[in-house]
């Protein structure tokens, strides 16, 4: 009995990368839904992380996110991904309105020596659940987005990463004088993901 639980709680690099990249997929969907980037009708409900989650049904968005998570998972397995940023921009002016920033810290020892760590699935799920709840409740403090928006995803990688054929280098798309809110983080013991949302501050006045 004891040995059974022990094997169950072991997490490998691959498993961790899968959890983290899957998290990004759901998080991106959730942000796109909650921030109204795509119309409400284009999302369908599924159950995940013990929560009702919304997933886009739009084929274009779906394949974009699928390609994204596939690539992220590859980078996560090599420990070369430092950060993923989902940027919401005004469609009209391309001005960056929100940046959803997921910083990733990778346990270098796991990548180098292929050792595994121990943490139960349940515990990780609970941490992710907390973040998802926060994303869903973010509409209460984030400024209203009252214009059509587009989104983009930036991946911050180590400089020695070869740029895949379908990717290009980008500028950071920063927001001037942003307001920042730190959300919960989760840790698979291999990848630690910190979530932070920064947004354009309208009330900010120059003194």
């Amino acid at each position: 009995m004891a040995s059974r639980t022990a094997t169950k709680d072991i997490i490998t690099l691959r498993g961790s990368a899968a959890i983290v990249s899957e998290f990004f997929g759901y998080a991106a969907n959730s942000i796109l839904y909650n921030r109204g980037v795509y119309p409400e009708e284009s999302f369908g409900k599924v159950k995940k992380y013990g929560l009702p989650m919304l997933l886009t049904q739009d084929e274009g968005v779906k394949s974009f996110i699928a390609n994204l998570t596939a690539q992220l998972s590859e980078w996560l397995e090599t420990g070369k991904l430092q950060r993923v940023v989902l940027v919401i921009m005004s469609k009209a002016t391309n001005e960056v309105l929100e940046r959803w920033n997921f910083s990733i810290e990778t346990d270098g020892e796991v990548v180098e020596n292929g050792v595994s760590r121990e943490k139960s699935d349940k515990e990780i799920m609970r941490e992710i659940q907390a973040i998802m709840r926060q994303i869903a409740s973010s509409i209460t403090y984030l400024p209203c987005i009252d214009e059509p928006c587009v989104f983009d995803v930036l991946a911050y990688t180590d400089t020695d990463v070869a740029v895949p054929f379908t990717w290009i280098e980008s500028d950071p798309k920063l927001i001037a004088n942003p307001q920042m809110v730190k959300l919960h983080s989760f840790d698979t013991k291999i990848h630690k993901v910190d979530t932070l949302v920064s947004y354009k501050n309208d009330e900010w006045d120059e003194d």
Partner: protein, 450 residues
């Protein structure tokens, strides 16, 4: 903006008494044990900690945000930021666009999503006998939309509006070849610097030689720059002379500062400051107001940072005191200067000799032309200096670049004896619109030392 500031910004993050980091052992003969000293903490207490006590508002969240943003900006140099080439589909609009245009006046009209930058030249012309000499300036595009190029001893005019070519003048062997051409601001008169140290002024419409400026230089005149009715000439003798072309004794001022050939010469848009670059690796800034004909004129600033000839010079069109300069084969750097203070703001190693620099008049972008190995034109985003495009096609170093009066097209002439036209700065339709209101740049609210 180099390694020094990077490390200090990293340290900055740890300067908090709660997150004291153990100091790495750094021993020497005089202080054999530093274990009892925590420099980060000490520094924090001396500087930040005190500030916080005296003026609690100073360590406000906005300052923290600034620090974070700073760290993020600097981060560009250490990480790679990637994005998908294929962008996610834009959401289908349920509410018609007009509704938004009404609520957000102008903004949606001014939208300019991603400019397509053609990778190939729009047009290629032969330029036989173009002298492959880094130190000359043989290409200029005048305000009347006529491009002047010197091929050997002949100056040709190519009218960009109808594509017609005409010959302005062919010089005899003893005076030629032509070593520099420059249009006067009126787009009608053109100055031609010659190998025999003379400078000729021509009326391009009447095809007539107006006057010859003699006796200023001792050897060839490789660089020219106009400032209203003053024609500034730079010679192989290292002298820079201001010539008032209206008066009989035309030499108004002489700037002495270069020890070797002056190959780059540009007046700022305000006409107050002159930048000059030489084969002696020096870059000088001269101030018009402090110049006088009696005393030998002193430079305002002397920059010795380049390690090869400074030929490529470009004044920023949207920031009056910002100058970009490029170094030759041994230097390969593009440097940015505040010409008021003489401070170097940034330096980027391009990996290849910098032959010419041009700013985009409509966007915050800089175009540089290079030699070995790629012979490319590189478009940079300013100030991030992210490469936006590399335009290849020339098979030898791209010696000269000139920008059309509307600022959209760039002509480049290279050692491969071709003249190429690139639609790199956007289409004329886009430029014809009023430029979209620039987004406030990061830190715009902070006083900058520039």
């Amino acid at each position: 903006m180099d390694a020094g500031s990077l490390t200090s910004s990293n340290k900055y993050q740890s300067k908090c008494p709660d997150q004291r980091r153990t100091v790495r052992e750094n021993l020497d003969r005089f202080i054999p044990n530093r274990s009892a000293m925590d420099f980060d903490y000490a520094h924090y207490m001396l500087t930040e900690g005190r500030k916080g006590k005296e003026n609690p508002a100073a360590s406000s969240p906005s300052k923290e945000a600034y620090r974070k943003q700073m760290a993020e900006t600097l981060n560009i140099n250490r990480t790679r930021i990637l994005a998908f080439k294929n962008k996610p589909p834009t959401p289908v609009e349920l509410i018609p666009q007009e509704f938004y245009s009404a609520s957000i006046p102008q903004q949606s009209k001014a939208s300019k999503p991603r400019r397509h930058i053609p990778q190939t030249s729009e047009r290629t012309l032969d330029a036989p006998d173009l002298v492959d000499d880094y130190y000359l300036n043989l290409l200029d595009w005048g305000s009347s939309n006529v491009l002047a190029i010197a091929l050997g001893g002949t100056v040709y005019l190519w009218d960009a509006s109808d594509g017609s070519t005409s010959e302005l003048v062919t010089l005899e062997d003893e005076t030629g070849p032509v070593t520099s051409v420059s249009w006067a601001p009126d787009g009608r008169h053109i100055a031609i610097g010659l190998n025999n140290s003379d400078v000729q002024l021509w009326d391009s419409t009447a095809n007539r030689l107006l006057r010859t400026l003699k006796g200023g230089h001792a050897s060839r005149v490789g660089s020219l720059a106009w400032n209203n009715h003053v024609l500034t000439t730079g010679g192989m003798d290292g002298k820079i002379i201001n010539n008032d072309v209206r008066v009989r004794s035309h030499i108004v001022e002489t700037y002495r500062g270069h020890r070797q050939e002056v190959c780059g010469l540009k007046w700022s848009a305000s006409g107050q400051q002159l930048a000059s670059g030489g084969n002696d690796n020096l870059l000088h800034i001269w101030d018009r107001s402090s110049a006088s004909s009696n005393s030998p004129t002193q430079w305002l600033h002397r920059m010795e940072d380049h390690t090869a000839a400074v030929k490529a010079l470009a004044w920023c069109p949207f920031q009056g005191n910002l100058l970009a300069s490029g170094g030759g084969g041994g230097d390969r750097c593009i440097k940015f200067w505040n010409t008021h203070t003489g401070a170097c703001l940034n330096s980027v190693d391009t990996g290849s000799q910098v032959c010419a620099l041009l700013w985009n008049k409509n966007e915050r972008e800089l175009l540089s032309s290079h030699g070995f190995t790629q012979n490319q034109l590189t478009l940079w985003k300013y100030p991030s200096m992210v490469k936006m495009a590399e335009l290849t096609g020339h098979t030898s170093r791209v010696l000269f670049m000139a920008q059309s009066p509307d600022g959209c097209t760039v002509a480049s002439a290279a050692g491969d004896e071709t003249l190429r036209f690139w639609n790199v700065f956007g289409t004329p339709e886009v430029a014809a619109k009023p430029a979209p209101k620039a987004h406030p740049e990061p830190f715009a609210h902070l006083n900058r030392i520039r």
